[in-house]
């Protein structure tokens, strides 16, 4: 074995130990050998790079498989780190964007919730005010079980009521007529209202409701007979507000969709279309319904595409946005867009059609779909399909 062969074996770490020691000793004493070693290291590295890089053209493989009657099964690209990095970065970017978007939407949604709740509190306060019951011409102010601080809140709330509005409410009552009334009166429904004093202020230490004598002409539509009040009569009735509170569960804004599609290739030569294969063209999506008509979701899609007679079965992950229009007899125009990434590249899906609400929670979709699979490795290529899409959606 000459020195070059020995050095190459040394580089490849296949040299027997005895020869290795001998060669290392030789290298220590010979500059020529050391120069040869550095050149051979470069040579081996260059050969390795070439071995990884040299490959037959894809069209040659496609033609060969076609001639032999085989279907190429795409292998995981060797050393395709950049592609993986691309996918990873795109996935991370999409995921980050989606999380940000969902966070903003949730924030907006939660803030929106506080408005009706505030309305509810105000209404509740009014309810406390309006719990006074009329018996004959008397107003019996029912002692509220509300805690003192709540009362103070209500009192503070009253302070904010504009004086003119109060005057309107208290029309027919002379503020100075009855000192015991302390400015309180009754509205047309016989409920207690507040009237500000001359300084337009209401004392914060509102006196306890007391029995008030009313004049005969004070209330026109007061109930003329005495009404017995059962002990168990609820003090407050908030039935109208309850659905609004119960319906605000976040899970109610989510829905799950499972879809099947079957497409026919529209751009790849030599493709006649494929037999129906539902398990190779599926999609599963979790949607967040951020408005009445639009939903945004995370989606997983498994499809089959063919490029140059090579079948690709990419598993795609991405985001989906769906639209569902105004319903009429359960039917509504609908559509969705999916953008996702997969190992070989990316996938775009656009579906449009009609959805039908089969039950309050379940809707069906049937439409036309366009799919474009982008192969982003060495040479950019794509495969387009058009076909029918069916999906079923369950809304929580």
């Amino acid at each position: 074995m000459n020195s070059d062969e020995t050095l190459i074996d040394l580089i490849n770490n296949v040299l027997p130990e005895a020869e290795r020691q001998k060669m290392i000793a030789g290298l220590a004493g010979s500059k020529v050998l050391r120069d040869d070693l550095s050149v051979l290291i470069k040579m081996e590295h260059g050969i390795k790079l070439n071995k990884e890089d040299i490959a037959e053209p894809e069209e040659v493989s496609a033609a060969l498989f076609n001639k032999l009657g085989y279907n190429a099964i795409p292998a995981v690209p060797e050393g395709n780190v950049p592609a993986s990095r691309f996918n990873l970065s795109v996935v991370l970017s999409l995921a980050s964007s989606l999380i940000l978007l969902v966070t903003v939407l949730l924030f907006v949604e939660i803030n929106k919730d506080t408005v009706p709740n505030q309305k509810f509190i105000n209404h509740l306060a009014a309810g406390f005010e309006n719990t006074a019951n009329t018996i004959g011409n008397k107003i019996i102010a029912q002692k509220s079980s509300v805690k003192p601080e709540t009362k103070n809140d209500f009192a503070a709330d009253r302070n904010t009521i504009p004086p003119k509005k109060k005057k309107y409410i208290a029309s027919g009552i002379n503020p100075g007529q009855d000192k015991t009334n302390s400015g309180n009166g009754v509205d047309s429904a016989g409920l207690t209202v507040l009237v500000p004093d001359d300084t337009n202020t209401v004392p914060s230490n509102e006196p306890e409701f007391t029995e008030i004598e009313l004049k005969d002409n004070m209330i026109d539509n007061s109930i003329p007979v005495e009404i017995a009040i059962p002990d168990n009569l609820p003090v407050l009735s908030i039935s109208e507000e309850q659905p609004a509170i119960k319906g605000e569960s976040i899970i109610d804004d989510f829905s799950l969709e499972f879809g099947l599609s079957q497409g026919y290739y529209i751009n790849t030569s030599g493709i006649k279309g494929t037999a129906f294969a539902p398990y190779e063209n599926t999609a599963f999506t979790i949607y967040y319904d951020f408005s009445r008509f639009f939903s945004l979701g995370l989606s997983f899609s498994r499809d089959i595409f063919r490029i140059d007679n090579v079948d690709y079965r990419p598993d795609s992950y991405g985001i989906a946005m769906s639209f569902s229009g105004q319903e009429s007899a359960g039917f509504a125009p609908a559509g969705n867009i999916f953008i996702g990434v997969n190992e070989p590249g990316a996938l775009l899906k656009i579906n449009t059609g009609v959805s039908y609400r089969a039950s309050p929670n379940i809707s069906l979709f049937l439409g036309l779909g366009f799919q474009d699979f982008f192969h982003l490795s060495n040479n950019f290529k794509d495969s387009k399909k058009i076909g029918l899409v069916f999906s079923i959606k369950y809304s929580f």
Binding site: I8, G46, L49, N50, K51, A55, E56, L68, Y70
Partner: protein, 194 residues
């Protein structure tokens, strides 16, 4: 589904006689194992990408046909290389003029032969790759073949001698001389790269 990746070459060749999809899967595995090495050989042998593609396809088609006929093939790569080599030599003899064209392509367009469309952006690596293929392309045919069979296709000297019809010692000598010539060629440029 069976994991055909774990099958030996001999077992996979035997499966090529089976029906679809077994033969399809077996062929895919064998093709994945040896496509690059075979194409490297074809490319360095003829120096022309289109011609190399023809040799490459012919080798696989004949290999598949032989396997289906029941031929025992224990080592697919030497078998495939032998088919390519025979086809190349046959064409050389048939069309002597063509060899001149091929040699011309080999010397003039080597940079275009190898597919550099990968994500490799390192200029230094590309320079090194170019140097290697130029150095190998400049070798005489026998030396080039021996060098490629040994360094690129990683065949044993025994397999090489069977393919080339020469003795093992002859193949060793050719590889050794080819290596020395490539090294000398690189030496002139390597200092710039180091």
């Amino acid at each position: 589904m069976k994991n055909y990746e774990l099958y030996s070459d001999k077992e996979l060749v035997g499966l090529l006689r089976k029906k679809h999809p077994v033969c399809n899967n077996a062929f895919n595995i064998l093709y994945g194992r040896y496509r690059k090495k075979l194409f490297s050989y074809c490319l360095f042998l003829c120096g022309n990408r289109d011609y190399a593609s023809d040799l490459f396809q012919e080798a696989w088609i004949k290999f598949d046909a032989s396997a289906k006929k029941g031929t025992e093939i224990e080592k697919p790569l030497p078998y495939l290389i032998s088919i390519s080599r025979k086809a190349y030599l046959y064409n050389l003899r048939k069309e002597s003029a063509r060899s001149k064209i091929i040699e011309c392509d080999c010397n003039e367009n080597l940079e275009d032969i190898i597919d550099y469309s990968s994500n490799e952006n390192d200029i230094e690596k590309k320079e090194l790759m170019n140097l290697i293929k130029t150095a190998v392309g400049n070798l005489d045919e026998h030396y080039r073949e021996a060098f490629v069979l040994k360094r690129f296709d990683e065949l044993t000297y025994g397999e090489m001698s069977e393919i080339c019809g020469e003795t093992v010692d002859c193949m060793k000598t050719r590889v050794s001389r080819a290596t020395s010539m490539v090294k000398d060629y690189l030496k002139e440029y390597i200092k710039e790269l180091i």
